[in-house]
């Protein structure tokens, strides 16, 4: 089938999806990886991009929607440019994860599940990220920040803020 791009997916995303389409013994297996492609481009599950991805894969859109609703890594709504996920599960809790969340709420002036008005930061609590020996920790976009202290948290956020301002 000749495919006409609809403009929601970047060139790179399209070529990666086309690669994934034939990478597995069964095309449907690539669904999760296609969700990652859409997420990497948008930072959330853009509906029109998802529909374009489904067309490209020649699979029903509902398969993608079902999967994206099942897995927590794919938010439906836009999140901050820097999406902060704090692990709240026991090993991190024992090392102060709750106080880390309290500190971030105060520092950013937002609640858990919210985005700062400038769209720079969003904050969520998540379950175990497999970083228990380096607790407390947070994930910002796809990077882990571990063995956090109050001063390291402040310098990490200041650095990201400066990076955003300098484009």
């Amino acid at each position: 089938m000749e495919y006409t791009a609809k403009g929601h997916l970047s060139k790179d995303s399209i070529s990666e999806i086309l690669r994934l389409k034939t990478a597995y013994p069964h095309r449907k297996s690539a669904i999760l990886m296609v969700l990652h492609v859409v997420f990497d481009q948008y930072g959330y599950m853009d509906r029109e991009a998802l529909a374009e991805a489904a067309d490209l894969m020649e699979l029903p859109l509902v398969d993608f929607e079902q999967a994206s609703s099942f897995y927590t890594l794919f938010p439906n709504q836009p999140v901050g440019k820097y999406h902060i996920q704090v692990c709240r599960t026991l090993s991190c809790h024992l090392r102060g994860a709750q106080q880390l969340v309290d500190m971030l709420r105060e520092f950013l002036g937002i609640g858990v599940g919210e985005v700062t008005p400038d769209g720079l930061f969003s904050l969520v609590e998540v379950e175990c990220l497999g970083s228990c020996g380096t607790a407390p920790m947070m994930q910002i976009n796809d990077a882990y920040y571990e063995n956090l202290t109050r001063s390291s948290v402040i310098s990490i956020l200041d650095e990201l803020r400066a990076k955003a301002q300098n484009g």
Partner: protein, 430 residues
């Protein structure tokens, strides 16, 4: 005690161990070469059976025997799926192996694939482990360039490809049948067993699922022999184990030690003891899904049999240390929230049971508990256990049941006084 010669972590902090040139300089891929060029797949399986290697993902099933369950003489493809969906709270060993020594994982995957005659192996890695996934992908490409991955390996007509597949952030997908459903492109719902994956797994084909650490042992077993491996550890729990220390311990981290090391030695000689000189209260020895041990039980040996005798499990060897400053109700509540969030919702006992456990623990922790809540919680545990398709329901039970059984006084204090036990505090960080 004599210094233990590390097996899996021997080169873990060696500079550029993640590059194939360094890995090969340190003896890498010799085992895969030896297996393919001098052994039949059946001989490889036989060595692994004789080594006594048991699955490191939690269940402890003998790895070689699992392979031998594959049906013989059918013309369907056989698949290998590497379970790299490390998500059991308290566990962070596979991540370190994949990030720092990815070729050891790839070599193990290739040896297993050869043994079970699999042409396409999948590594299902949890979605958050982006760095580990990149490390694996690069390692596979390096191995492909050397001819260890791809077509006609070592000129022996063996074809093996490896696909890295990223998960989406769902604990349930670490359960082997949920992992397969997810890999087939759907939501990660577990399936009823039987049929077991060895008979009808991925795409209905015979499939073996092995944990990362299990596979990491294979090159060493092939190189040094089954007898050598079986001489380490205990007679029934052979080899070494990576123990993950976290929580209120002075030196958290991964420690590779022989199976059967006493928990006390692990905590005090290796982990540096309890943080800030506090007294130990409880230890969860095998990831969040196993029963807690009280402080007087730490002379137990860390192997499958000894921990079962002590009323707990080795599980994934995620050792969570809890000192006297932590309220035991809050610890149970924290884990109840985890299981409630991660229940896939397919089975009523798990979906409803984890929800009500969370509600009840929450009200006890916040001073609104009733004394009959304790028996209600134990009753919910009994009604979840054994009544679900997959082990997630069973996994949600121990943290609640074992804390009530072993710290009932503290629960009762909490309910009567509508407050945490004196001396327990909000857990802080510096």
């Amino acid at each position: 005690m004599a210094e233990f010669e590390k097996i899996l972590f021997k080169y873990i902090d060696y500079p550029e161990q993640d590059r194939i040139s360094t890995y090969m300089k340190n003896g890498g891929y010799a085992a895969f070469s030896k297996a393919v060029t001098t052994m039949t797949p059946e001989e490889v399986t036989d060595v692994v059976i004789k080594s006594g290697l048991r699955g490191r993902g939690g269940a402890g099933f003998p790895a070689g025997r699992k392979w031998s369950f594959l049906p013989k003489g059918i013309d369907k493809p056989v698949y290998l799926t590497v379970n790299a969906d490390e998500s059991e709270p308290g566990t962070f060993k596979d991540r370190e192996l994949m990030e720092k020594d990815p070729h050891m994982v790839i070599e193990g995957t290739l040896i297993a694939a050869y043994a079970i005659k699999c042409k396409i192996a999948f590594i299902y890695i949890r979605g958050e482990f982006t760095f580990a996934a990149r490390q694996l992908i690069r390692a596979i490409e390096e191995a492909r360039a050397k001819g260890f991955v791809g077509k006609n390996i070592f000129g022996k007509g063996i074809d093996i490809d490896i696909i890295v597949h990223r998960g989406g952030g769902a604990y349930i997908c670490g359960e082997e049948t949920a992992l397969l459903t997810s890999l087939e492109g759907g939501m990660g719902y577990p399936r009823v067993k039987p049929p077991f994956p060895a008979v009808a797994g991925l795409y209905g084909c015979p499939t073996i699922i092995n944990n990362v650490e299990t596979l990491a042992n294979l090159s060493h077993i092939i190189n040094r022999g089954a007898e050598w491996f079986a001489s380490i550890g205990t007679p029934k729990s052979t080899g070494s184990k990576i123990f993950c220390l976290s929580g209120h311990i002075n030196k958290p981290g991964n420690y590779e030690l022989p199976m059967g090391v006493p928990l006390r030695e692990l905590l005090y000689d290796h982990g540096g003891g309890i943080r800030d000189g506090h007294n130990l209260k409880a230890v969860i020895p095998g990831g969040s899904s196993v029963p807690v041990l009280t402080a007087d039980k730490i002379d137990v040996h860390m192997d499958f049999e000894s921990l079962a005798e002590a009323g707990s499990m080795l599980g994934s060897a995620g050792v969570i240390v809890i000192d006297e400053t932590m309220c035991i109700v809050r610890a149970a509540l924290n884990l109840a929230q985890f299981y409630q969030h991660e229940s896939c919702g397919q089975c009523t006992p798990c979906r409803q049971g984890t929800y009500w456990m969370l509600v009840i623990l929450n009200r006890i922790e916040h001073g609104e508990g009733r004394m009959e809540d304790l028996d209600t919680l134990l009753d919910i545990c009994d009604n979840i256990e054994g009544n679900t398709i997959c082990p997630l329901g069973d996994a949600a039970v121990p943290s609640v049941r074992s804390t009530i059984r072993q710290f009932r006084d503290e629960y009762e204090y909490h309910i009567t006084n509508k407050a945490c036990l004196p001396g327990t505090i909000a857990q802080g960080f510096e």
